[in-house]
């Protein structure tokens, strides 16, 4: 049904979105937990987290290029010291995607943390559970439905990331060409509309199944939590 080129595009999209999720999730959980409490500087952190939503994606990609590009301050260091090159690579595409899906993750997970009953944490603390213990044994499992739903939504969104990825990682078939980038590429060629439609249908089906999957997962986990 799908051609070899289409399979490759799909595989690239999956790899980029998955890698982005793996990189983004731990920091997003930490950020969301922080934002669910009170601390000095909360307002600033909240703003920073939401920057990728507010800035044009192309600008986010451009900022990454300035910072991590071959002549960017961090980019030079990464290439000299660690031998890592991010621009125009699949890891680069994943990094740009990770930055873009970060606010989606933080928002979903933060709501889950905020909905938790603070009295349970008091109960745990008088049962000799310290702060880290409480985080791993209470906060994380209780927020699991929200974390999972956020992750699925972010993964689906990550498969469709365009502006930041094309700016930072370019449009290289087999390396950084994800579904939306492939649609863009075929549209640049005369007579590419039919191919673009096929890719668009794939993209649509993926996004929709992601949303439905998130909803079902969340329902299932809620039911398990409530017994």
């Amino acid at each position: 049904m799908l051609s070899a080129a289409e399979w490759e595009i799909l595989a690239t999209s999956f790899r980029v979105a998955l890698l982005a999720l793996v990189w983004s999730l731990p920091l997003a959980i930490a950020c969301a937990f922080l934002l669910s409490r009170r601390f000095p500087g909360k307002f600033t952190l909240d703003g920073l987290v939401h920057l990728p939503i507010i800035l044009p994606p192309v600008l986010t990609g451009f900022l990454l290029l300035l910072l991590l590009g071959r002549r960017g301050p961090v980019g030079v260091w990464l290439e000299d010291v660690a031998g890592i090159r991010l621009v125009f690579t699949q890891e680069g595409a994943a990094l740009a995607t990770a930055v873009m899906i970060f606010p989606i993750l933080v928002r979903a997970i933060r709501i889950a943390f905020e909905a938790m009953d603070a009295r349970l944490f008091q109960a745990a603390s008088v049962l000799r559970a310290g702060p880290w213990d409480r985080f791993f044994t209470l906060a994380l499992p209780l927020a699991a439905p929200g974390i999972l739903a956020g992750a699925v939504t972010a993964f689906a969104a990550g498969m469709g990331e365009f502006g930041a990825v094309i700016t930072f990682a370019a449009n290289i078939p087999g390396e950084t060409q994800t579904l939306p980038l492939a649609i863009y590429a075929v549209l640049q060629q005369p007579g590419g509309e039919a191919q673009a439609l096929r890719l668009a249908a794939m993209s649509f089906a993926l996004a929709l199944s992601g949303l439905i999957g998130a909803e079902l997962l969340q329902r299932w986990m809620r039911r398990r939590l409530q017994g």
Binding site: L120, Q122, A123, A124, S125, V126, R128, A129, D133
Partner: protein, 331 residues
């Protein structure tokens, strides 16, 4: 045997509390007083859940003092709340195991023993979401016990229960105290609950301790009587000194002055088993015109409220003999 020494000040908004008392390491101390007097805040401060100034000491260990404030998980103090606060993502068994695995290995009780004691073997593998209220509170008690605390604080744990179930819960607490030698500090605003549980009492009003000490002495303090509703006025009597249908263990009964009948001669042919001979200590006129008669008996001081006419007719007077009739199984 670790005594709990508390000498703290704490502020919550406009409310100020300053309390100094000692809860013995071998008894049940009841923290008694009207709502809004700061009982729950004081308990939270002892557990380390809210900040306080001053000193809190458990045995030789300083839990809180100038410069050292141990966090709740390092205090070795357990707490049972008004609501059970079971962890919803765990079964009853794993709720209890949560406490047990974090308790010092040399102090913690055996898990089967705890489960059998609270009669919860059958519900161990159920998620806590579908337990009944009474089952939840039993699991919460089991969990608190499994943490092997040095001292257990209970914040009106039976507030939601009524009648029969409340008395059953109090009985479980008493047995738990006896079987596991666990000292307790229990908050309540019911004088009957206080009397059933307490060996010692700390009475708190508007953020101040108005009386404290062994239950019978602390409740005989006039400052304590002022805390009570007029209809609750009375005296504590040891259950061992009365004929009761209760278990034989020592505890107190609260004899309301309204429920004690006075006779000027020893009554005959009467069903009442508790007829206490005594000497009248004082007769005081009450605001409503009634008379409060204090009687010294071998069971201790007893109060009886009678009418002015009865005092005249029976020729009751200070120093005279009288008999108090008490129907003790009414408790």
């Amino acid at each position: 045997m670790k005594t709990l020494d508390v000498h703290v000040r704490l502020t919550r908004g406009a409310f100020r509390l300053a309390a100094k008392f000692t809860a013995p390491g071998d008894g049940i101390t009841v923290l008694f007083g009207p709502s809004g007097g700061g009982k729950s805040s004081l308990l939270a401060a002892i557990a380390g859940l809210v900040p306080s100034q001053g000193e809190i000491r458990l045995g030789k260990r300083m839990l809180s003092a100038q410069g050292t404030h141990l966090p709740p998980h390092k205090r070795g103090i357990g707490m049972v709340f008004q609501d059970a606060r079971l962890f919803p993502h765990l079964t009853a068994r794993r709720n209890i195991a949560y406490a047990w695995t974090r308790a010092p290995a040399d102090k913690r009780p055996r898990l089967e023993e705890v489960a059998r004691f609270f009669d919860i073997m059958a519900l161990l593998d159920r998620p806590v979401g579908n337990l009944s209220g009474g089952e939840k509170s039993r699991v919460a008690l089991a969990r608190a016990l499994a943490a092997a605390p040095d001292f257990l604080l209970l914040d009106e744990p039976f507030a939601a229960l009524d009648g029969q179930r409340r008395r059953a819960f109090i009985k479980v607490l008493l047995e738990m105290h006896r079987s596991f030698h666990l000292p307790m500090l229990v908050v309540t605003h019911s004088i009957d609950d206080a009397a059933s549980l307490a060996s010692h009492l700390v009475a708190l009003k508007a953020g101040e301790v108005v009386s404290s000490g062994p239950f019978d002495a602390a409740t005989a303090d006039p400052a304590f009587a002022a805390l009570l509703d007029a209809r609750d006025n009375g005296a504590a009597v040891s259950s061992l000194l009365l004929h009761t249908v209760h278990d034989k263990a020592q505890r107190y009964l609260w004899l309301r002055a309204d429920q004690v009948v006075l006779a000027a001669e020893r009554p005959k042919a009467i069903s009442t088993r508790n007829i206490l001979e005594g000497e009248i200590l004082s007769i005081r006129q009450e605001a409503d015109g009634g008379r409060m008669v204090a009687l010294q008996t071998k069971a201790g001081r007893i109060l009886s409220r009678v009418t002015a006419e009865a005092v005249d007719e029976l020729a009751l007077a200070q120093g005279r003999k009288a008999w108090a009739l008490v129907k003790a199984h009414a408790f």
